[in-house]
């Protein structure tokens, strides 16, 4: 690595154009939003930014009950989705890490593959699965009719009655399923990375010394893979908290998240200062989580990934 002073010209030629692009089209826009977040909304939806109007009012508004409910719900959805991601992702990562090397890469590829298809399409695919006349209800109806049919053959009355399709779509559970689906690879990959590097002799020692498989799992494997777990949890949580498309397509009135509230303020509600404040609340949450992740990585020594 060279000191930039030794070759200022070459450094400037390489570094300045991309840096300038990111300053103008990334940092500047965020700075504008940050400034807006202290402004006020005019009667026609314009942004009032004179000194008398500058306040923390927009941030305070996010604590009003109706908005706080959405913020709290977003955090709750993100927590539940992250928990389900660990529940599904840990066995999956373990299954891949302990597979024979021949299959390991294929299994890993199979996890990443859906992740390369478009986010919108992956979310849309769930509508066909969950809707009233969707695949799940269709399978349930078939099961229901088969049981009823079987009972009729035996001469028994149809115990189950007429089939009522389950309302699986446009509610909070659908949003959680969608978020888990979209973010599962972000949990599995860091988990796999630590489980694969794990020194197997610790597990063998534990088994040799008389601990059972479950005890070994919870007292040795899980503690040793904490760096991967923390990376996966934080990553999944950030992504889940910032969801916009999943609640938009799969959610209903009971499952509006911060992302949807932000989009509403910049769209139909035309309250940009409030939207800007919400957007920065989300950014601050992201920064705090990334900072926590950096601290954890520092304590573990080296990178957590």
């Amino acid at each position: 690595m060279q000191n930039w002073r030794r070759n200022k010209f070459a450094f400037s030629v390489l570094f300045l154009p991309p840096a300038a692009w990111l300053v103008i089209f990334f940092t500047l826009p965020l700075a504008i939003v940050w400034v807006y977040s202290f402004g006020a909304r005019g009667p026609l939806g314009e942004i009032i930014l004179d000194w008398s109007a500058v306040s923390l009012g927009n941030y305070a508004r996010s604590l009003e009950w109706i908005n706080l409910e959405i913020v709290a719900k977003s955090i709750w959805i993100a927590v539940v989705a992250t928990a389900i991601c660990i529940g599904l992702g840990f066995p999956l990562a373990m299954g891949i890490a302990f597979a024979s090397p021949r299959y390991r890469n294929i299994l890993l590829l199979l996890v990443i593959l859906p992740f390369w298809t478009n986010l919108l399409i992956r979310t849309y695919a769930w509508i066909a699965v969950l809707r009233e006349r969707g695949h799940v209800n269709f399978a349930l109806e078939w099961l229901h009719d088969t049981i009823n049919g079987g009972l009729a053959v035996l001469g028994l009355p149809a115990l189950l009655g007429a089939f009522e399709p389950l309302q699986l779509l446009y509610n909070q559970n659908a949003v959680i399923i969608g978020i888990v689906y979209v973010n599962l690879p972000f949990m599995v990959l860091p988990l796999y990375a630590t489980l694969e590097k794990l020194d197997r002799s610790y597990l063998e020692a534990s088994l040799d010394l008389g601990a059972g498989q479950w005890r070994t799992l919870f007292s040795v494997t899980v503690p040793l893979s904490l760096p991967g777990i923390s990376t996966g949890v934080l990553l999944t949580f950030i992504l889940a908290l910032g969801s916009f498309l999943t609640p938009d397509l799969l959610g209903g009135p009971d499952s509006i998240m911060i992302g949807n509230l932000i989009a509403q303020q910049f769209g139909s509600a035309r309250d940009w200062p409030f939207g800007a404040a919400l957007s920065f609340l989300l950014m601050y949450a992201t920064f705090i989580i990334l900072w926590v992740k950096a601290m954890v990585a520092k304590r573990e020594g080296g990178s957590a990934f």
Partner: protein, 285 residues
């Protein structure tokens, strides 16, 4: 011994005795295989069903009625979808070209030079990768509204370039990590100037990284929904945005067909990118 040879051996069962499964061979155990199977069904069922039902000969698209290509013909003949597809390709082409060049420059600069506050600059460069997409989307919208620049193809392209640069830089930097700087010193020793050294020694080495980064930028641009949603105007509807408006309207096999086209396109590009990266990693230069 004589007994076992005399009796008919239950051969198929003995061939794989249970002791083949070591204590740590978790993946060979039935319960782990069941868990893996459940996970993979969860990961694949929605997409496979979506693709399968794009070939389903039924307007209501609930039960399987027979195989057909007619929804693909319909999707191909849908003018709005065609326009959206053309827009997507044009945006992706320009965004990829610019972000590959800028991202490569950034990746090389970060790999090569030490400069004040480099840690901070690096975190800043990675920021577009980690912040929620919606925050970047509304920020871009706020910028274009402030300078009163009408939303259209240009605003989408500019935004796509901005979020692609860091991804390209990361890929190129990873490639450069394997570069032996003494090769450059040798070139300088042998009389080449700085420019010749770059073009003839450094540049050929980083090409696989730049290509892989470029293909990543291409898929990111083709796939992006959230940021495009906030920065596109009436004349700059992209393929994902068009699919979104169709989805909001109704769930039809035509949407499935259009989605399948996009899946195949991005998967192909990603596989090519992976192959490029893999090949670049194995060869010396």
């Amino acid at each position: 011994m004589s007994i076992s040879t005399a009796t008919a051996t239950p051969a198929p069962r003995l061939r794989r005795p249970r002791r083949d499964i070591g204590p740590l061979d978790y993946t060979k155990r039935a319960w782990m295989r069941l868990l893996l199977a459940v996970n993979f069904v969860f990961l694949y069922f929605p997409i496979v069903a979506l693709i399968a039902f794009s070939f389903n000969d039924s307007k209501r698209n609930i039960t399987w009625q027979g195989f057909t290509f007619k929804y693909y013909t319909q999707a191909f003949n849908n003018n709005a979808l065609q326009d959206a597809f053309t827009n997507s390709l044009m945006i992706a082409a320009i965004s990829t070209a610019v972000s590959t060049v800028l991202g490569t420059m950034l990746g090389v600069a970060l790999h090569r030079y030490r400069f004040p506050a480099k840690d901070v600059v690096e975190s800043w460069v990675h920021l577009p990768i980690v912040i929620p997409e919606i925050c970047m989307g509304v920020a871009m919208l706020a910028l274009f509204a402030l300078i009163k620049f009408p939303l259209g193809l240009a605003t989408v392209i500019v935004s796509h370039i901005a979020f692609s640069i860091p991804f390209v830089a990361v890929v190129v930097r990873a490639r450069m990590a394997g570069f032996d700087l003494s090769l450059e010193e040798a070139s300088r020793d042998l009389g080449a100037n700085q420019w010749q050294t770059f073009w003839n020694v450094t540049f050929p080495y980083l090409i696989p990284g730049a290509v892989a980064g470029g293909l990543l930028a291409l898929t990111l641009s083709l796939d992006d929904f959230v940021i495009t949603f906030f920065t596109s105007g009436p004349g700059s509807t992209t393929f994902p945005i068009k699919i979104y408006s169709m989805v909001r309207f109704s769930v039809t096999p035509e949407v499935n067909a259009a989605s399948t086209i996009l899946i195949v396109l991005t998967l192909t590009l990603t596989v090519v990118a992976m192959a490029m990266q893999g090949r670049g990693g194995n060869k010396k230069i």
